[in-house]
Symmetry: C2
Subunit: 167 residues, 2 copies
DNA sequence: TTCATGTTGTTATAATATAACATAACACTA
DNA sequence: TAGTGTTATGTTATATTATAACAACATGAA
């Protein structure tokens, strides 16, 4: 029972995950209301499924979950919801995994870096000012105008370290 | 005529690209000899095709090039060469583009960051110590053991800025 | 030459993602 | 509240990216 947000940290195994999900959905609702966009039932459900844990989820996993719900869905159903959620900053895409993970502080223009544990599969979203400024500085130096970042660091998190020798 | 290496910079349009390719192939050969691995004709050709310019290239583009060569190739042919080149640090994979780009300073353990211009499609490979140490510091702080990095910054390079209003 | 290993060929298929058009839901207004 | 434009979803087909599995060939060492 701890770590109300995954922000900057890997959540411990016993954290109150129901709280993460509830808060994420609540924030998404208020955020969409504020922006005047519609968090439909389908989109809300997809977001909820993505938040099932702190691991990035693939589009076809989501599709399978929807099917288990009894929702007869096809790929475009999922991808359109994902596009909406991405476009409104409610989720992030993890390119190195072709997968999607919830964002715990919705907002279009925040930067983000991900540490991804190959042991437990969890992803921690960071917003490290030093990393961001180091990148921004380099961009300035070479006259590059940044539009998007994809910063994905893979390895082993503190909880998994030592639990198994390697894999 | 300038910029013998793409390192840290976007190459200008008129740089001596033949030189880039020749040097990359030469370095690859000596690197493979040193490591005792075989840069076969096919692998060398794939590497050469990747170095055709400073833009990341897709696997199926390479396949098409090989076919134009008269080489009747199938996807595994290309992917196996790519695996070899990746495994020996001769190319990098750009996850956000599902594409591959030549590495100009072969070596397995170097870190790398990419600035990718959506105007000209070129990718500049950086090795910025400040970015790397900012990431390493954060990893240390949260007890994360880094294995792989994928740092891809998309935007507009200095050569493309101003050339066209937007797209 | 023979064997072991590594490389490439070949066929099939998996996994991820989008195009294009039809239908349904919603929300505004007359 | 019926009509209308817009947004969202359903549906079918297909594009794009990547790998599995096994056969054939090449290379180098004994």
């Amino acid at each position: 029972m701890s770590l109300p947000k995954q922000h900057q940290q890997f959540p411990s195994a016993d954290h109150d995950h129901q709280h993460c999900v509830a808060q994420a959905l609540h924030e998404a609702e208020s955020y969409c209301r504020k922006r005047g966009v519609r968090l439909t039932k389908l989109r809300r459900r997809v977001l909820e499924l993505i938040w099932a844990n702190h691991r990035p989820v693939g589009a076809y996993d989501l599709l399978q979950q929807l099917t288990l719900d009894g929702h007869k869905a096809a790929p475009p159903t999922v991808y359109r919801s994902l596009d909406f959620l991405l476009g409104n900053g409610l989720i992030h895409r993890i390119n190195s995994l072709n997968a999607f993970v919830g964002c715990d502080h919705p907002g279009l223009d925040h930067t983000a870096q991900f540490f991804i544990c190959r042991g437990c599969g969890q992803a921690a979203e960071l917003d490290d000012a030093k990393i961001e400024s180091a990148i921004a500085d380099h961009a300035t130096r070479i006259g590059f105008s940044i539009e998007r970042r994809s910063i994905e660091i893979t390895g082993i998190c503190t909880h998994c370290e030592g639990e198994h020798s390697d894999a």
